[in-house]
Symmetry: C2
């Protein structure tokens, strides 16, 4: 009888894989490089071969699989169709169906990587098993994922959970990659934090260790310096936290989850960031003091493999009825 | 065999009732006054008696009922528990269970009236049967309802769909009833529109028919005058539409429904309002031109009875599995 699941998280430089029990215990995790030749045409065959090899090593076969969950860096329609996956140069494909064919017809469910990570964090990470959770991933950009009743809300046009492109800042003068002005991503991503720091340094003549770092300044530096008492760096993080708290309050008044989870590289700032974000979120959510909590992500780069396996396990349960 | 359903929409001055076929065809609708004596203690017995009387008149009995849906003006927890229903002075009750006991144990499902109206509009109103729809009700206040996969999102703390209390306006100086400043309700409710108009009249010396109306000015007047070319009134409606379009874009990036539905008294402004709202919503949603449409509500005051009957019919279907 089928007893294990595989979670796959396809990235532009490497593919992360994990083998799990039904209850979500990680048996083994490993990585393979993303073969970028021929518009990443070998990625799925490589994944299939690697899964077969690891199954064999551990004494399993594809018959022992409940299924394989697949996170891909692009929008996935409910049918499994991927119109375009920019980072992988994929176009007009059904990656889940293709991987299934490469694995003796085993069940494969594909989802967008940010959404799948949200499912993983809700299940086994910061969400601690919450059925309703929302993830904000603060990395180079700002991604997101909205989970209601244990299911990813992808939306009718693939915009569900695109939290980085909420318009939060009217006075923004530069354009976001999406063509808008004032997106959350422009201020709360790692890139946005550095930009904000440079703006403040230009405007103010106050002393700050950020100045000495010049063009080498990273979001990590801004967070670290802010926590260590650098006033200008702290001011940057106040601005970042205000807009993030505002965006969280918008989502709260829409779906009101159990928990909001802050992940991505910027979340390494930890409780220093968390306390600021909670303060502004509370300020913007006056209707009731009783609202969704804000916590830090707990799975790091493993959120994708956890979420991918959850995706396929849940579908398998549902189809059994 | 059970074949019909009853939708009940309890308001502070009257209770609306409707008798429906399984497919949502309205057989009959009627109203009874809300008896406000003894903290509205007689409301549910009155509703039960009225349902029994109408069933008998139409040749049915409680045995013919699939169930009764009940919309109440306050938060209803998933268990059916109502901690407080301010307008009716109800406290610490299970109105669904009580009504069921008064009707020979027939299935009764209770929900918040704004959420239930959203379900009605999604099913048989502006949503045209959409599984995913979001209603903004622009009345004395601004209410809302979020429907995903045909189900109301009430949220974990009752804040799901509280769209009127999204913070959209930083420069607001007055306080909202919720204690916040800059809520959507403060600008897009009927009350908010009049307030905005009075602000503009004070600030500007330009000619406007709004001035002649003085303290009699209503939101309806502002909409009508704006449509008829009064420049200041049109400016008010631009401001209102901008914030409403912004709030819609926030919800779009969170749950991305098929359709946004604008209801409530203010929505009588029709396409004049709709076009403005769509313009700002598009401006704030640059990530993709392909996003949820915005339409006008179609059921008026009947949205509640349609939604209530849908609520109980759907639960009955689900429990049959």
């Amino acid at each position: 009888m089928a007893k294990i699941g595989i979670g796959v998280d396809v990235g532009g430089t490497s593919v992360k894989l994990g083998m799990f029990t039904r209850t979500g215990n990680l048996i083994k995790k490993w990585e393979i490089p993303t073969d970028r030749e021929n518009n990443c045409a070998n990625v799925l065959p490589d994944v299939a071969a690697s899964i077969r090899k690891t199954l064999e090593e551990e004494g399993f076969s594809t018959e022992d699989l409940v299924g394989v969950g697949l996170g891909v860096p692009g929008p996935v329609q409910p049918t499994g169709y991927v119109e375009v996956c920019v980072n992988l140069h994929w176009k007009d494909r059904y990656p889940g169906r293709e991987l299934s064919e490469l694995l003796d017809g085993v069940r494969v469910e594909a989802g967008n990587d940010a959404n799948v990570a949200a499912l993983g964090e809700a299940w086994k990470g910061g969400g601690g098993g919450a059925a309703d959770a929302v993830l904000f991933t603060l990395g180079t950009g700002v991604g997101g994922g909205v989970i209601v009743n244990g299911k990813i809300i992808t939306g009718k046009h693939g915009l569900g959970g695109e939290l980085g492109h909420m318009h939060v800042r009217d006075e923004e003068t530069e354009y976001c990659n999406c063509g808008g002005r004032g997106c959350l991503e422009q201020v709360a991503s790692a890139t946005g934090i550095v930009r904000e720091a440079k703006r403040i340094l230009k405007k103010s003549s106050a002393e700050s260790k950020m100045r000495e770092l010049g063009d080498l300044l990273t979001a990590r530096d801004v967070c670290d310096l802010g926590r260590d008492g650098d006033l200008l760096a702290d001011e940057v993080m106040e601005t970042v936290s205000r807009y993030l708290g505002l965006a969280i309050s918008h989502v709260e008044m829409t779906v009101d989850p159990d928990v909001f989870i802050i992940g991505g590289g910027v979340s390494r700032a930890g409780s220093y960031l968390l306390e600021k974000v909670r303060k502004y979120y509370n300020d913007y959510t006056t209707l009731s003091r009783n609202h969704g909590n804000v916590v830090l992500a707990a799975l790091g780069n493993d959120a994708g493999i956890y979420g991918a396996v959850r995706l396929v396990m849940k579908k398998a349960e549902e189809s059994k009825g």
